[in-house]
Structures are given as structure tokens and as C-alpha cells.
């Protein structure tokens, strides 16, 4: 199995957000989805955005992806505006649902972004094989999405997001709809993927254990207005397994995150 490698310098800034605000104009009153967000994400970081529903974590991810426009403030993604970064296909986006096209088989679903990036048929085939093997789904090429379980579908979705070798992987609660056993397994798989590919990952979740286990940096957010309460760096070994969930360090970081969330909650009410 060949590994996709990235030759980026290890500690350059991937995403730089300064004083960013986003207000949705509604018919009754403006909703401050994001308020004064400042965040630097380095290349190769695994950053989790965690917070209660309505704290703007998904909105922040969508701003990075140029799926929402900020009201004020600046943001650069890979040194470019989010718009340019999107046009350059700098990121692969994994949604809450697998978002596979039901009329395409698994292989052909992975070919979708490759077709649009102008890869040849031969390269498409090669890349889909490579990334399907990365998520252990060799043998399922000709199956259709409805023939796969939810967890397998989400793995296809991850393979698809990685297939065109973008700099970043943006993930919006990708395992939220899965049962806990599947979620744990996919968390471990994702960690290995991150190690292998060295991609910058921005990961939205509302699960504390998930955030602590996966992340090199945890961004704790609060709701109304959506703002950053705390940024916690972790320092677990790269080849960690779920056993670390019993260690004092893990529990300590979890406690920090929980306190941050609590603080944000008290602030809000």
C-alpha cells in the first residue's frame, strides 16, 4: 500500500483567523453566530472544535470552507482567501451524513471529485484503489451506497475527501450519527489516517472523549454569541490507542474541556 505523503514544512500556518465575526440577518433579529474569533491552526495540526449546539462550530468550519461568508474580520487558508482556497480544491469536506450519490457505486463516488479535477480514467482508478485500501474497503468498489453500513459509508466519504490529496480535511461531526462501537473504531482509524497523511484536520464534534483522543489542539466554544472560550493543546503520543482514555493525563485534559464548556454555559445564561 503506497502512502500519500505531504512534503509541507511541518509548522507553517495553515489557517489564520483574526477578529472574525459572522452575523445572520433574520426577520426578527440578527443572530451573532460567530463573535470575535481568533485562531491559528498550523499545518499538520488535528484541531477539534467542541461546544454545545448553536455555538457556531459548524459555521466556523463552513467559513473556512468558503461555504459561508464572514461579516467582518480576516481569514486566510493556506495563505489564500477561503474563496481561492476552495477554487484550488485545498480541502476535502466530510459532512455529518456520508453524502454519497446513490446512483454511483463506491468507486465511482470516489471518482466524483477526481473527474472534476480532470484526472484521467486511469489515475482515477489508481487513486480510488489507493484510498479505498487506506480505509480498508477493498472489495466494495462495485457496491452501491445503500448496500453498505453507515460506518462504511462514512469511511467512503473520508476516502473521497482525501482522494484528490487536498492540504486539509474538514470534518463536520462525521461520526455523530454512528453507534458508539463504530465511532470508537473509526476514531482509531482516523488517527492512523492523520498520522499517515500528515494532513491538517479541523474536526467538529460535541463529544469530549472524541475531541481529547483525536486532537493535538482542542478549541472550546460557547453559544450565543459563538465565541472561543479556551484553546487546549494536548501532547499524547502519535501512536496512541484507546487505552489512553484511562490515563490521568487524558482525564485531566477532559476535565479542562469540561470546565471550559461549563464556563461558556454559565456565561451564556
Amino acid at each position: 500500500m503506497s502512502e500519500p505523503t505531504s512534503s509541507k514544512p511541518s509548522k507553517s500556518t495553515s489557517i489564520d483567523i483574526n477578529n472574525l465575526c459572522l452575523t445572520f440577518e433574520t426577520q426578527t433579529e440578527p443572530v451573532h453566530a460567530l463573535s470575535d474569533i481568533n485562531l491559528q491552526i498550523n499545518s499538520g495540526d488535528f484541531v477539534s472544535l467542541i461546544g454545545p449546539s448553536g455555538c457556531g462550530k459548524t459555521t466556523l468550519l463552513r467559513v473556512i470552507a468558503d461555504l459561508e461568508k464572514p461579516t467582518s474580520g480576516t481569514i486566510t487558508v493556506e495563505g489564500k482567501s477561503p474563496h481561492e482556497a476552495r477554487l484550488d480544491r485545498s480541502y476535502g469536506y466530510v459532512f455529518q451524513t456520508p453524502a454519497l450519490l446513490p446512483w454511483r457505486n463506491i468507486e465511482s463516488n470516489i471518482h466524483l471529485p477526481l473527474e472534476m479535477s480532470g484526472y484521467s480514467k486511469h489515475e482515477q482508478k489508481k487513486l480510488s484503489q489507493q484510498y479505498l485500501s487506506l480505509v480498508s474497503l477493498i472489495g466494495f468498489e462495485k457496491k452501491y451506497p445503500w448496500q453498505l453500513s453507515g460506518g462504511m459509508q462514512q469511511r467512503v466519504s473520508i476516502a473521497r475527501a482525501l482522494s484528490f490529496n487536498p492540504d486539509m480535511l474538514l470534518m463536520d461531526e462525521p461520526f455523530g450519527a454512528l453507534d458508539e462501537i463504530t465511532r470508537d473504531r473509526l476514531n482509531e482509524e482516523l488517527l492512523h489516517l492523520w498520522e499517515k497523511t500528515q494532513k491538517t484536520v479541523v474536526f467538529v464534534t460535541h463529544s469530549i472523549p472524541e475531541a481529547v483522543f483525536l486532537s493535538s489542539k482542542i478549541v472550546v466554544m460557547s453559544a450565543r454569541p459563538g465565541k472561543i472560550i479556551n484553546v487546549i493543546e494536548t501532547n499524547f503520543s502519535k501512536d496512541r490507542t484507546f487505552d489512553i482514555r484511562e490515563t490521568p493525563e487524558f482525564l485531566e485534559v477532559s476535565q479542562l474541556v469540561r470546565e471550559g464548556l461549563k464556563e461558556g454555559h454559565n456565561d451564556g445564561s
Binding site: 461555504l67 484550488d88 480541502y91 469536506y93 459532512f95 446512483w103 466524483l112 452501491y144
Partner: protein, 298 residues
């Protein structure tokens, strides 16, 4: 118990229920023929002082020259006479007339489907068309087709356009509507996440159209086509009524009612419905095979 088991065996397949239903329809039909034709016959009996029994009444009402409602076997005889016994080039052959109707229906269906898809794409992609076009399209279907058909045929005729095309436009007029409604819904059916997904790949409008919206609309298209193809036959027949057409099932219906030949009318009606049902099932077959190729569950 034994009777129950036999009943279960009969009703379990698809043949049993159909045979039973058709038998009931035929029985009701025979009874209806007696009922509807009886007053004329009883009049005649009384005028000629003939004694009559119920069985004589039934036999007579099933074998009249020009009954109000012909009996099934009379229609079957008429069908055999006009389908099997006549050469298909003959003016009296139902196959010939069906061919005339079918050709204009198919041309109209093709034009209506094309027009419907074109309009739906316009409505989905141009907001101004979405607001202005839809009320007119709906209004067009509230006008009785029988009222507008002669005008279309006459207007096109005065412009020197005669023959197949004016007839086909009536079918088009009926066909395009379900296609527009279905395709607008179909093209808009991809959920917001799939649209965002395409956006995240910085897909062009054309790519979103061909790779997302068109495939997503296929099931909606087929639902519409099934309605449209049946309407195309209705449209073609209606178009043949005012034109004084020499050929076509509509012309047969017209001459049948002109000469009071109800056998002929019923034979033409049954032929038209058999053609419609066949066409709808052809579309159904196409749908199944395309669904299979697209890997969709059916």
C-alpha cells in the same frame, strides 16, 4: 376448509385475481347491455304484440345491430373483423387507424417531453422564469383541451401546416405539463449537503447540472413520462375529432357515433386503452432497466 384452500391457491398468483376481476367486469357488462338495450326491445315487442321472456330479451339485447351498449362478444367480433380480417392498409383496418393515432401521439410525446425538460431547466435556473412561467403553465392546463384543439388545428392549417404536426401539438400541449412539474421537483431534489459537496469541489454550474441534478431527477422524470405518454394518446384522439380527419382512432370514434355504430366506437375505445396501457408498461420497463443500471433500489 377445502374451499378455503382452493381460494388461497387461486388468489395467491397474479393470474387468479386478474381472471376473477375480468370475469366480474364481463358479467356486469352483459347485465348492463340487457338493462340499457331492453327499453327499445320491450317497446318493439309490445308494438308487435310479441310474448317475450327474460331469456329472449337477453339474447336479443346481446345481438342487436345498433345497441346502446354492445355486448362483449359483439365488440370482440368487431375487433377481430377490423384487426385480423382487414388488410392493414385498408381504411377499415383498426391497425391502420391505430398507426395514424400512434404516430402523432409519439411525435407529440417526444416534443412535449423535450419542451417540458427545457422549461423545467429554465424554471430551476432562472429565478425570473420561476416566478413568471409557472402560473401560465398551470393556467394552460385549466383550459379544456376540447375547446383549444380545433383552434390550434385551424390556426396551424391556415399557416399551411397540415398533417401530422398540428395533431401532434395537441399531444404536446397535454404532455409537457406533467414533465415540467416532475422535472422541476426532480432537478431541485438534491439535498443541501450534496449541493454543498459539489460546491466544495468548486464544481461548475454545468458539472452540478450533469453530475448531480440530472441523475437525481431521473426517478421524477419517469413518473411524469408515464402520465405524459397516456395523455399523448388522449391528445391525438382529441385532435382527430375536429379535424374531420380521415384516419386515426378519433376519426373512427367520430364516424361510429355519426352512423350510430356503437360496436365500432367500443372497438376503437378498447384499442386506444390497450395501446395506452402498453405504452405505460413500456415506460415502466425502461424505468426498471435504468434504475438497475443506476444501482437504485426499486
Amino acid at each position: 376448509m377445502e374451499a378455503n384452500r382452493i381460494l388461497n391457491i387461486i388468489m395467491s398468483g397474479s393470474v387468479g385475481p386478474v381472471v376473477i376481476l375480468v370475469s366480474i367486469i364481463i358479467m356486469v357488462w352483459y347485465a348492463g347491455a340487457v338493462y340499457l338495450n331492453s327499453s327499445f326491445l320491450i317497446d318493439r315487442y309490445e308494438k308487435n304484440n310479441i310474448d317475450w321472456s327474460l331469456s329472449e330479451l337477453a339474447t336479443d339485447s346481446w345481438s342487436m345491430e345498433r345497441p346502446v351498449l354492445p355486448s362483449p362478444h359483439q365488440v370482440a367480433k368487431e375487433l377481430k373483423k377490423t384487426i385480423w380480417d382487414k388488410k392493414i392498409t385498408s381504411k377499415h383496418s383498426l391497425v391502420f387507424h391505430s398507426g395514424v393515432t400512434l404516430s402523432s401521439a409519439m411525435l407529440g410525446f417526444a416534443m412535449g417531453t423535450f419542451l417540458g425538460i427545457l422549461l423545467s431547466v429554465g424554471i430551476v435556473y432562472v429565478p425570473a422564469l420561476d416566478r413568471t412561467l409557472m402560473p401560465w403553465i398551470i393556467a394552460s392546463q385549466t383550459i379544456p383541451i376540447l375547446a383549444i384543439a380545433p383552434m390550434i388545428v385551424v390556426v396551424l392549417g391556415s399557416m399551411g401546416i397540415v398533417g401530422l404536426f398540428p395533431k401532434a401539438t395537441i399531444s404536446t400541449y397535454l404532455c409537457f405539463f406533467p414533465v415540467v412539474v416532475g422535472m422541476v421537483k426532480g432537478l431541485r431534489s438534491p439535498n443541501i449537503i450534496l449541493v454543498d459537496l459539489m460546491h466544495s469541489y468548486s464544481a461548475s454550474k454545468a458539472q452540478v447540472f450533469w453530475k448531480l441534478r440530472i441523475p437525481a431527477s431521473i426517478p421524477f422524470l419517469f413518473a411524469s413520462l408515464k402520465i405524459a405518454i397516456a395523455l399523448s394518446i388522449v391528445g391525438a384522439i382529441v385532435a382527430e375529432l375536429p379535424a374531420g380527419a380521415q384516419g386515426g382512432l378519433g376519426a373512427r370514434l367520430l364516424s361510429g357515433s355519426y352512423y350510430g355504430q356503437t360496436n365500432l366506437i367500443w372497438a376503437a375505445l378498447i384499442t386506444a386503452s390497450v395501446i395506452s396501457a402498453t405504452l405505460v408498461s413500456v415506460i415502466g420497463r425502461m424505468e426498471r432497466s435504468i434504475n438497475k443500471r443506476m444501482g437504485l433500489q426499486t
